[in-house]
């Protein structure tokens, strides 16, 4: 149960509060507001000014508390990422859920995280180091497996990469059973992520070109059996979806 609520005005203040035990950052609140665990304090990030979107050169900087819907409505948001965002949550939740909160809490069925993994998004986190705020940037591929609890301040995605997203679900708006996101840069770099099961989406391939894409997709699904589909099915379909992503980008 949440026992203390703070709404700091500065990042400094927020980090100080978050350094206390049993204290968690509160983004949109869509998950934490239901927390049943004993005695948790929350630090509401809404006044920290982390809710802006900025295109900067070849990158889009997404503040940690930008909501999923804000990002979806942004003119800079790639169309395929918009599709992935729509699947992530219904509109009402997208109006509250923040991009950082979603990354912190999502599982492998997250279409948003799958797309960001393909885009090789960068995660900026802030920490106190000897009373000084230090920002550390990691690739999403490094961040996702461990999900370090440090406060996310920004997510950056490339604007010079093309993105395609394909999925299979029980219904058009259901969470994906299998999804694939393929990002391709002008220099031919191709990066494929697959999702739909497990704790996090998986990076299937990051290469200089798209050759071997289908088998990479298959290989990423070897252990992908759960209550929703078999690994055999996901291997086959992930391969198909990867191929469709490639066709879409071509």
């Amino acid at each position: 149960m949440i026992t203390d609520y703070f709404r700091p005005q500065t990042l400094d203040e927020a980090l100080a509060l978050l350094s206390r035990p049993n204290t968690l950052p509160l983004g949109g609140g869509t998950l934490l507001s239901h927390l049943q665990a004993d005695s948790v304090s929350v630090v509401d990030l809404q006044r920290l000014g982390l809710d802006s979107l900025r295109a900067k050169g070849n990158e889009l900087e997404i503040g940690a508390t930008v909501t999923l819907q804000q990002l979806l409505e942004s003119e800079h948001c790639p169309a395929a990422l918009k599709s992935a965002l729509k699947l992530e949550a219904p509109l009402n939740l997208r109006n509250s859920a923040t991009v950082a909160g979603t990354l912190v809490s999502c599982d492998g069925r997250s279409s948003f995280a799958t797309a960001l993994l393909a885009l090789d998004a960068k995660i900026e986190q802030a920490i106190y180091d000897n009373s000084i705020i230090v920002y550390r940037v990691s690739n999403i591929g490094e961040y996702m497996p461990l999900r370090s609890t440090k406060l996310i301040t920004k997510i950056t995605i490339p604007l010079n990469a093309k993105l395609a997203f394909e999925y299979v679900a029980r219904t058009p708006s259901d969470k994906p059973i299998v999804c694939a996101a393929l990002a391709q840069w002008g220099g031919k770099r191709a990066r494929l992520a697959v999702g739909g099961w497990g704790k996090s989406p998986s990076l299937a391939m990051d290469g200089t070109e798209a050759e071997g894409l289908e088998s990479a997709a298959q290989n990423a699904c070897h252990e992908a059996t759960d209550d929703w589909a078999s690994a055999e099915y996901r291997m086959d379909v992930a391969s198909t979806l990867a191929k469709r992503c490639l066709v879409a980008l071509q």
Binding site: Y5, R7, L91, N92, S96, I177, D227, Y233
Partner: protein, 998 residues
């Protein structure tokens, strides 16, 4: 903490715990339009506008909302007439929802309207897709979203200042398919069309209100978010109940110690099986005697499924109650569990070994058998011997959830007369009272059950599921108690549709005549046998009866239906709209489709050749009647052929079926089209009884009191329409109230598609009694001299001599003599109540029917199948229905649209499964997906009217039949698209993919 919340333009200061959600804070402040639907914001009924954007109030801390503008439905509009005070009336969105029939149970309506308001403020001219996207965060289980979407489009048009359709002036050409209303002002209104097509029968009379799309009598209340639901009651000293659920599928409670929980501050009571009387009963909300075993206790020393009850807690807050649950110490002796229905029969593990178990019919707890059905009609073996070909196959249907958006909720309290009041969201208030009396140790007369508005039921509330929890705690504490299920409890501890494995065997002659048809259903009732016999009986009764064969076989059909209903250690199954029948039509209709294709018959001709005709006996009526004495029954009306013709035209069957070019439009995508024919029942003959009372008020209005239970279907409205028709008044003058066991006459409740037919007849009869008294009085008044009244517009002399009551005609709030002179009903009311020979004009009537006239329907589906992934998209559903005369096309079509949508989930995505320990895999609306507004196929409803002679207005049922045909029609369409059979529903992508690779 102290907070200031800016709600609807006004600052509200509150002191509240930190963990308080915005939902709790708002409801605590009296904003009841915002509702609880689930813990994760996925139902969206907790929608409010935060700085103009729709968000889930249940997914925000109240503290997060400080400094923001919060808007609730209460800020929009209100009833235009408030006595001497005039208001601006309803907001255009509210008005459009009311007028377009967009409200059924109304539980999600405020949320949908707020979401739409946010859209229209940004985009005054939205497309249908925009509207669907805007309300996609609000789940509706009743409407299928069609009418809400149309209402938003209509409101948008009005807010843009565009000319509105005057629906009263629209001419409806109810002839051939393709006709549209001809005098709509402009084309732009075609997308806000809300009326279904109605193909009228020549037998239909012209009535004043019956047959008209009257506005629902509760619509204005619901559209304002008024505190109309069970949880909206505010009682001083209210305690919150929670239940400790079993973590084990099968175990004995060796030791239970609640001392630590009782010692927790704020806990008022903790009850375990040691604390309350041990009374065996059934939770199935049915008439006496319950047609099933008595095998349930409020609390027991054995648990039989994960989610079974272990202890009850009442505390000052829900959080304290939750905390108390964690302090109850329980030591279990874990027993082997049966989780697969195929392993249940004669398993050495016996789920019901209690000595108090009371058998019904062939139940046999030592065999884990809750019910056994053996029905033989004709000579089935001879029929098979005469067949040219015999087809056999097995089909599987899943366990699914009713998923009403309002969870189960009950509030109990002692009234000033020491009578226990149970205010509950139930479909069966009178059964609740009768069945709980022995459980609580109270005589029936000391219990009063009030059914307020219900936020959907779909059979899930035809169960006396949890009222006893609150009642026991009120008895223990003497205080009012509320018990509201969480969404997780709905999944682990409520009821569901029975999952089954069904074997079909069908004999067919070369000419397409079915010579014998056999179904065996192995049905899983879960841990308790509620509805076990009756649900599974209907699986055969209402599906296998449709096909009697042709020629000689038609005269003496050969049909066999056997079933074993077994206990397993899974949550109990129960009633769910359709009541066993959808489980029958998936195997039956899929099987017939296969036979037609294997033998080269046109699938529609094959079905119609063997389908039952008007004037024939319902074959099962000679052999089975839900465990009671069978009574043969003739079916008077069958509109099936017309349904097929209308549906084929609507979906353009002839240009698609068998047309390869249509099927193959893209390289990896194939299209398919399918049909299923279905029939249902209308009430249970000789058993279902409904009562109604009507009394006349001083102004010529009437109170109609019914025990019937409107659970969002609009039954209050159609009953009012029938009464209004008889009494010659507008529906506005009928004040319908349902239901309260102290005030309203008995009614079995809302199930078995009975209300319009049974309770409608009762209301009609009660109205006829009133009308008779009114006519007697009117004849006297009109015979008096000097003249008392007018011919429309001009003063005339009164009637010479005595008028006979039979000469009087009631219409337009008046009683007319043959010469056109009249007295108003208000004058009659004043005369009878105040002036001469005073009497209270009222009528009380009840009705039980010897008939159960089946509605019929042709269900069509159009799909696209991704041949590489197995993904199926249902593009269009058309249902042509013979439900007799349609009393209210708006509410009736809403039933069909909502039913088809629920059935669509059954077809493609809904399924409740359990792991190897019996733990539920689906516990929320994330894993258990129900259709949202932004992913719906096109829906079309056509009513093919017949006049059912056993009802005063010719009606049959409409509520359940839309559940029956969608899944098989979708399965058949997949077969049509890609040539493979998926014999297990839902047809998930992997199941289709595997079938294509087999």
């Amino acid at each position: 903490m102290n907070l200031t919340l800016h709600i609807n333009g006004i600052d509200h200061q509150i002191e509240t715990p930190v963990h308080t959600t915005l939902l709790s804070a708002l409801r605590g402040l009296g904003f009841h339009g915002v509702k609880f639907g689930d813990e994760h914001g996925l139902t969206g009924v907790d929608t409010v506008l935060l700085d103009g954007r729709p968000v889930n109030a249940g997914s925000l801390l109240a503290a997060q909302a400080e400094g923001h503008k919060v808007a609730t439905i209460e800020a929009l509009g209100e009833h235009p007439e408030q006595g001497w005070k005039k208001t601006d009336g309803l907001h255009p969105l509210q008005k459009a929802f009311v007028e377009n029939g967009a409200i059924q149970c109304g539980y999600c309506t405020p949320a949908q309207i707020l979401a739409a308001k946010a859209l229209l403020e940004k985009n005054p001219n939205p497309s249908e897709a925009d509207v669907r996207e805007a309300i996609s965060g609000v789940l509706c289980r009743c409407t299928g979203y069609l009418k809400p979407v149309q209402a938003v489009l209509r409101a948008a048009a009005e807010m843009r200042g565009e000319e509105q359709v005057n629906w009263e002036s629209v001419h409806w050409d109810l002839g051939n398919r393709g006709d549209q209303p001809t005098n709509l002002p402009t084309d732009q209104f075609t997308n806000v069309m809300t009326r279904p097509k109605v193909v009228v029968t020549p037998d239909k009379q012209t009535w004043q209100t019956v047959g008209k799309p009257e506005i629902k009598v509760d619509a204005v209340k619901l559209v304002q978010g008024k505190p109309a639901f069970a949880a909206d009651l505010e009682k001083r000293g209210l305690l919150h109940a929670k239940v400790l659920h079993s973590p084990h599928a099968h175990a004995r409670i060796k030791r239970i110690d609640a001392r630590r929980a009782r010692d927790l501050e704020g806990v008022a009571a903790v009850l375990t099986w040691l604390d309350i009387p041990r009374v065996v009963y059934s939770t199935a909300g049915q008439s006496d005697p319950i047609p099933g075993p008595l095998d349930t206790f409020s609390l027991d020393h054995k648990v039989r499924f994960v989610g079974d009850r272990v202890a009850f807690v009442a505390a000052e807050t829900p959080e304290i109650a939750e905390k108390a649950l964690s302090l109850i110490e329980v030591e279990y002796e874990i027993l082997p569990a049966i989780l697969d229905l195929r392993e249940a029969l004669n398993n050495p593990t016996i789920i019901h070994d209690e000595t108090e178990y009371v058998n019904f019919a062939d139940s046999h707890p030592a065999k884990n058998l809750a019910a056994e059905i053996r029905i033989d009609i004709g000579n089935v073996d001879k029929g098979f011997a005469e067949a040219d070909e015999i087809f056999e196959a097995e089909y599987i249907v899943p366990k699914v959830q009713q998923a009403h958006i309002e969870p189960h909720v009950a509030v109990t309290y002692w009234d000033e007369d020491d009578r226990l009041v149970i205010r509950t969201s139930t479909q069966v208030p009178f059964h609740v009272r009768r069945m709980l009396a022995p459980v609580l140790g109270l005589p029936i007369k000391r219990i009063r059950v009030i059914k307020p508005r219900i936020g959907g039921g779909f059979g899930g509330k035809q169960e006396v599921l949890m009222e006893d929890v609150a009642a026991h705690l009120t008895i223990a504490t003497k205080r009012p108690v509320i018990y509201e299920y969480t969404r997780e409890e709905e999944f682990i501890a409520a009821r569901s549709r029975h999952p089954m494995r069904v074997k079909m065997k069908t004999g067919v002659k070369k000419d397409g005549t079915i010579t014998a048809n056999e179904m065996y259903a192995l049905s899983d009732t879960g841990a308790y046998g509620c509805h076990a016999l009756t649900v599974t009986g209907n699986t055969g009764h209402k599906s296998m009866a449709l096909y009697v064969g042709d020629g000689e076989y038609r005269k003496s059909p050969n049909i066999r239906f056997y079933a074993d209903v077994v206990y397993t250690n899974t949550p109990p199954a129960g009633a769910f709209r359709g009541y066993g029948v959808p489980q029958g039509y998936w195997p039956l209709d899929r099987h017939l489709e296969k036979i037609a294709r294997a033998m080269g018959f046109d699938p529609i001709d094959f079905r119609l050749k063997n389908a039952i005709h008007a004037g024939e006996y319902h074959p099962f009526s000679t052999a089975w009647n839900e465990g009671r004495e069978p009574r043969p029954e003739i079916i008077h009306t069958v509109g099936l052929e017309q349904c097929v013709a209308q549906g084929k035209a609507a979906i353009d069957w002839d240009s698609k079926f068998g047309n390869e070019a249509w099927h193959s439009t893209q390289s990896k995508i194939r299209r398919g089209i399918g049909i299923a024919l279905v029939m249902q029942g209308t009430a249970i003959p000789y058993l279902d009884m409904g009562g109604a009372s009507i009394k006349m008020n001083d102004d010529g209005s009437f109170n109609l009191l019914v025990g019937a239970t409107d659970l969002g279907t609009g039954s209050d409205t159609v009953l009012a329409q029938m009464a209004a028709e008889v009494l010659g008044v507008p529906v506005d003058d009928i004040l319908c109230y349902s239901s309260d066991t102290d005030f309203t006459p008995f009614d079995v409740g809302a199930y078995a598609s009975s209300t319009t037919y049974i309770s409608g007849t009762a209301a009609t009869k009660a109205a006829q009694i009133c009308a008779e008294r009114i006519k007697i009085r009117a004849a006297k008044m009109l015979s008096r001299k000097p003249a008392l009244s007018n011919v429309e517009g001009s003063k005339v002399q009164g009637q010479e001599g005595d008028l006979r009551p039979d000469d009087i005609r009631l219409a337009n709030r008046k009683a007319f003599a043959p010469d056109g002179s009249f007295v108003t009903l208000a004058e009659i009311a004043l005369d009878t109540l105040h002036k001469s020979e005073q009497e209270q004009i009222m009528g009380v009537a009840s009705y039980v029917s010897p008939s159960s006239p089946p509605p019929f329907a042709a269900q069509f589906a159009e799909v696209t199948v991704d041949t590489e992934t197995g993904a199926v998209t249902v593009d269009k559903l058309v249902m042509a229905v013979d439900s007799g005369i349609i009393v209210n096309p708006a509410t009736a079509s809403g039933q069909i649209e909502g039913g088809m949508t629920q059935a669509l989930g059954y077809a493609v995505c809904e399924e409740m499964r359990y792991d190897e320990k019996g733990q539920a895999i689906e516990r929320d609306f994330d894993r258990y997906h129900i259709f949202r507004a932004d992913e719906m196929p096109e829906l079309e409803t056509i009513f093919v009217e017949t006049f059912e002679p056993t009802h005063p207005f010719g009606v049959k049922a409409v509520a359940e039949i839309p559940m029956d045909g969608v899944a098989p029609a979708v399965g058949n369409a997949i077969l049509d698209a890609v040539g493979v059979n998926v014999d297990e529903n839902p047809v998930t992508p992997e199941r289709v993919w595997r079938a294509m690779r087999a």
